[in-house]
Subunit: 196 residues, 2 copies
Amino acid sequence: MEATEKKVARLATPGLRPGGRSARVQASVHAAVQALLAEHDRAELSVPQVAALAGVTPSTIYRRWGDLNELLADVAVERLRPETEPADTGGLRSDLESWLEQYREEMSSEPGRAMLRDVLASLGSAIGAAQCCAFSRQQLAVIAARAKTRGDVVPDLDAMVEVCLAPILYGILFDATIMDEGFVRRLVDRLLTPAP
Amino acid sequence: MEATEKKVARLATPGLRPGGRSARVQASVHAAVQALLAEHDRAELSVPQVAALAGVTPSTIYRRWGDLNELLADVAVERLRPETEPADTGGLRSDLESWLEQYREEMSSEPGRAMLRDVLASLGSAIGAAQCCAFSRQQLAVIAARAKTRGDVVPDLDAMVEVCLAPILYGILFDATIMDEGFVRRLVDRLLTPAP
C-alpha cells in the first residue's frame, strides 16, 4: 500500500493532490495503457478497453484526455520524463557526448520511436511535444550549470538544442543515414568549436 | 557522399508509366483524398469513403497502400514534392536564407503541419519520412551545386542538413520558442562560419 502511494505520488502531474482521487485515476489509467501496450499493437487499443482494465468509465477518460491519441501522448510524455540527472563525467564535452549518445540510443529504439510517434500524433495540440522537448532542455541545462561551476565557457541553451539535439531527432524521424559512427561527436565538436 | 546521392536517387518515386492504369488509379485516389481532406477532418476519413469517391474498390486501396495511414502519408509526400528549384538569388548565403525561410514558413503553416503529421504517422515504415527529407536534400544539393559553379566554398550536404534543416523541423515539431526573429539567419551564419 505504501509502495502504491509512492508510485501514485511520483506519477502525479504537478498540482494534483498526491493520493487524491484525480491522481489515482491518472495512475490507474496510465498503468492500464502501459499494460495493454506491452501485449497489443497500439492500433488495437480502444478507450473502452483501457477503461475496463483501469476500472473507470470510458466517459472519465474522454472527459479527462479528450481521445485515445491524447491519452497515448500523455502516457508517452510520462515515460520520457528523465529519472536521473545526466552523468557527471568530469567535463563539459564528455558530459554532452555521454548524455547525447544515451539519448540517441534510447530514442532510436523501438519503444523510443513508439513514444515519439505517440507524442507527435497529438501534434495539433503540440503540448505533448513541447513537454517532451522541455525534459531534454532541462537535462542540457543541468550539464551547462555543472560546467559553469567548473569555470568552463558554456554555449547558450538554444545553441545546445539547435546544434546537438535537433539533428538527433531529425536523424531518428527523417534520415537515419546522417547518424554514422562519429555522429554525436561531430555535433559536440560543432557546438564547442568557437567561432573565429 | 556518393552513397548518399545514390540513396536519394533510389528514393525517387519509381517510374510509374504516365497515363497507365496504375498511374490513373494513383491519381484518382490521391485526388479523392485531397478533396475529402479539404472538407473533412482526417479523423473522419475512411478507406471505403475514399474508394467510393475515387471510383475504385476498397480492396484496390488496401492492396496498394496497406491502410489509411500509409495512403495519407503517400498523399502528403506527393504534396511535399517541390515544384520548382530554389530561387537563384546570386549567392550561397542568400540562396540558403531565401529557401530555408520559405521552407520554414510552408512547413509551419497548418497544411504544412498536417502533412508532416501524416508523413510521421507512418513512422513504422519510415519510407514517407525518408522521401520527405530526400526532397529537401535535393533542393539543398541544387543550391550547393550552383554555389560550386560560382566558385564558392560549399559545406557538405550532411552539414547543411544538420545545421540548417534539422533545427527548423525541430522547432516546428517540438519547440516553437527557438524560432525567433533571426532564427534562419543564425542557422546560416553557423553553417557558413568556417572553423578556426
